[in-house]
Structures are given as structure tokens and as C-alpha cells.
Subunit: 160 residues, 2 copies
């Protein structure tokens, strides 16, 4: 049978994008965002949709940069946690034990323990309504944590 | 070890969004797009990034609407195929044996055999570079194919 429902904001799979930013006081923050992904190839851009209520929304606006960090399965609890609380109320790095690390090229921190990070400079804020904006960032650098044995696999992927 | 690579447009998981549109001649078309997803909650919107080279890009522009159809695993070959060829060169519905069906509320077809379809009216074209544009559509209706036994599960999800 067919079931018709009013508009549902449900679409799977939902990525786990851990967005790294600095606040105006230099404090690193991370949040879990699932509404985002690659948006263009030339220039290479990633877009992430955030509510204005989030600290990350304002951090990106102020710092002009963000990182997208992909956790390994080992860190699923930490990844979930940083999507449940606000960086206004606690230091999410301290609470999770994760380590903020300076990124190579942009003004945003990466998560040291995570295997894949993308460094992005903000290029566009696209307001979609009273609550959400899409933040489009130009991909500057990809940082991959890998063992020497895995290096050949990554090299293949990098050429993909 | 850490490996730094130039910007990579690689981010997993990559959704399989089968975009349904009508051409100016009324011909239904589908393509497989993986750069997209939910973009806002109020209004509920979905965004999908498409190259100008695609027929779907022009169909959305002309028709002002599109659908997002999620295939079940059974149709992975068909889903792959419609991302590999252009609707300019062949009738992808005929080639795959899939059935275009009028959607309930927007000017775009859904794929009858697929279990989940979202009907969207275009609200924004956001040009990101010389090749890509993000098409943001307002979600109007969700259409779910389900058995009576599964209905209670979906009801739960719908309230999620």
C-alpha cells in the first residue's frame, strides 16, 4: 500500500559530520551535523545546514572557516554526545576527552583522534528560512590518519 | 601517520538520491545524485547539487519541481545505471523497466517501484561555480510504499 505523509525531513543514510570551529574567544568547539555533504567539484565545496540556535552557526560566521571531521566507529558515543549538548553550556572537547588540534590551513580545529578531516574556508551563507542556513565552504585540504599498511588503499581512493 | 591531500570531494556515506523530473516535452527522466540531502526544517527543504551538463538540471529549472526517490536494495543496478547515462541519449525508464508515476502534488514523476519518494517544489537555485548549482526544493509530501505489517514502524518514524 501507499502511505502519504506530510513533508518529512527524513532521508537516509544520514552522514555524521563533526563540525570543528573556533569561537571569538579562541575556544574550540565541535558539533554533530547530519544535514550536509559535498556540494560542488569546481571549486570543491562542502555544504552544511545549521540552525541559528547553534554555537557553530555563529562561530563559522565569525571565523570564516570550519572543519568536517569523520569519526571512526570507536567514537560513536562521543560523536553522538557532541550533537546533544551545546558548546555554550560545556567544553565538548573536555567532556569527551577528544583533542582539538590546529588545522594546517584554515582557522578551525580538527579532531586529532578522528581518521578523516576536511579543512574548509567559508564562501557562502545561504539563508533558507527563519531557522536554518546552509554554510558552503571551499575544501582546502584533506587530512587522513592512516597506518602505513592502509596507505595504498587511500592512495587509490585519492585518485578516484 | 597523517596524510595531507589536496581537496578531495570524498565524503561517506554517499546517499543514493534518484531525482525524478519532467522535460519540457513532458518526458519523465531520472538520475542518480549523491550530493544532496535535507537542508532545513522550517520550511522543510531538500537540496541537491547538480552539474549544468545534466538534463535534470535543466528539467528542474523548467518544471520548477523534482522528486527524490530512494530505491530498495533490489534496484541497486537500476539506480547505478541511471547515474551513468544521460536522459538525452536514452529513455531511462524504458531501459530499466522502472515505471514513472504521476506524483500527487508536484510537477515531477515518482518511481513506482521505489519504497520512498519525496515530492518537492523548487524554491532556490544557488550557483556554486561554473559547473554546479544547488537546487533547493520545499518538501511537500512524502510517499511511502509499505505493507500493512510495516505500517506501525513507519508511524513511529513519522513521529520521530
Amino acid at each position: 500500500m501507499k502511505l502519504f505523509l506530510p513533508a518529512q525531513t527524513i532521508l537516509l543514510p544520514s552522514p555524521v559530520l563533526i563540525i570543528g570551529t573556533y569561537g571569538s574567544d579562541g575556544r574550540p568547539n565541535i558539533m554533530n551535523a547530519s544535514w550536509g555533504g559535498i556540494a560542488s567539484s569546481k571549486p570543491p565545496c562542502i555544504s552544511v545546514s545549521l540552525r541559528e540556535a547553534t554555537l557553530t552557526y555563529h562561530n563559522i560566521k565569525q571565523a570564516g572557516a570550519f572543519t568536517v571531521n569523520i569519526p571512526s566507529e570507536k567514537y560513536f558515543k562521543e560523536a553522538d554526545f557532541v550533537g546533544m549538548v551545546s558548546g555554550r553550556d560545556c567544553d565538548k572537547f573536555k567532556q569527551t576527552g577528544l583533542t582539538p588540534e590546529k588545522s594546517k590551513l584554515v582557522n578551525a580545529p580538527i579532531v586529532k583522534e578522528f581518521p578523516y578531516s576536511l579543512e574548509c574556508n567559508l564562501v557562502r551563507q545561504i539563508d533558507l528560512g527563519p531557522l536554518n542556513a546552509i554554510w558552503s565552504g571551499r575544501l582546502i585540504l584533506a587530512c587522513i590518519q592512516c597506518s602505513l599498511e592502509k596507505l595504498s588503499e587511500w592512495s587509490l581512493i585519492a585518485r578516484f
